[in-house]
Symmetry: C2
Subunit: 123 residues, 2 copies
DNA sequence: ATTATTGTATTAAGCAACTAATACAGTAAT
DNA sequence: ATTACTGTATTAGTTGCTTAATACAATAAT
């Protein structure tokens, strides 16, 4: 329900990522209708034009299909959705590893840091 | 030597991060002079105003000190620099964990992914 | 003293993202 | 047929980032 938009990057890109996230996590199931441009814009408190741009952009990934005057639906291809989810995760990981390497932190050290951060929950 | 600036975010922020990275990795040692605004701007192929903004911004972190008309120097406080390095790393990790969690990936799974990505080097 | 270099400030211009307010065409529902 | 909803397009105005071209004061070097 939360869009969590910030001014650090173009809003339409953040919209793309948030909607994509909802799709790959099953929040918007395969084949289901997603809200209309106007509804989406209202929900996210952005201009309809900006949401339109985000949805058009998202269409290029084939995750959503344009039903002309009947709105847009999530693709039926569940395997493709799962593939997308893994791809996003691997891109995130790769970016994280690079940023860490630039700070002089190896993958092994990163694993150790993750373990450490897990322990802190017990406070 | 590479600045690797892209248009995805404000350039002055990318400059702040790159210079900060060079400091915490020892590329610019404690107490040393960093290049002048104009030199830095030339190196990074940006406008002096943009570099000025980045350096002013970076000053707030205390990592660099303003010597008035004698340029800027990296702080002598090596412990503080190391502290900064760890803080950046932990922020990166935290952000990564959150993004992964949003994709339905647990810290344990993330560790597994890191191990997997390490194996792929042997191709 | 003069010169060069430092940081800093100012003004103007351009650009991309975003908002705003409409308008239009197609289709589903009634 | 009419109504209400879809996506789409257009035009205009605002804002923040960036570049550009200077200018100024303070200091280091000579």
């Amino acid at each position: 329900m939360a869009w969590n938009l910030d001014g650090s990057r173009p809003i339409y890109l953040q919209l793309v990522e948030e909607i994509r996230r909802r799709i790959v996590t099953g929040e918007y199931p395969p084949g289901s209708h997603i809200p209309s441009v106007r509804d989406f814009a209202t929900q996210a408190s952005v201009n309809p034009n900006t949401m339109q741009r985000a949805l058009t952009e998202l269409e290029r990934t084939q995750l959503i299909e344009n039903q002309r005057t009947n709105g847009r639906t999530v693709t039926e291809d569940a395997a493709m959705i799962e593939r997308e989810r893994r791809m996003i995760a691997e891109q995130e990981l790769k970016a994280c590893l690079i940023r860490m390497q630039k700070l002089g932190i190896s993958p092994e050290e990163l694993i150790e840091m993750i373990r450490e951060s897990g322990k802190e929950k017990e406070n």
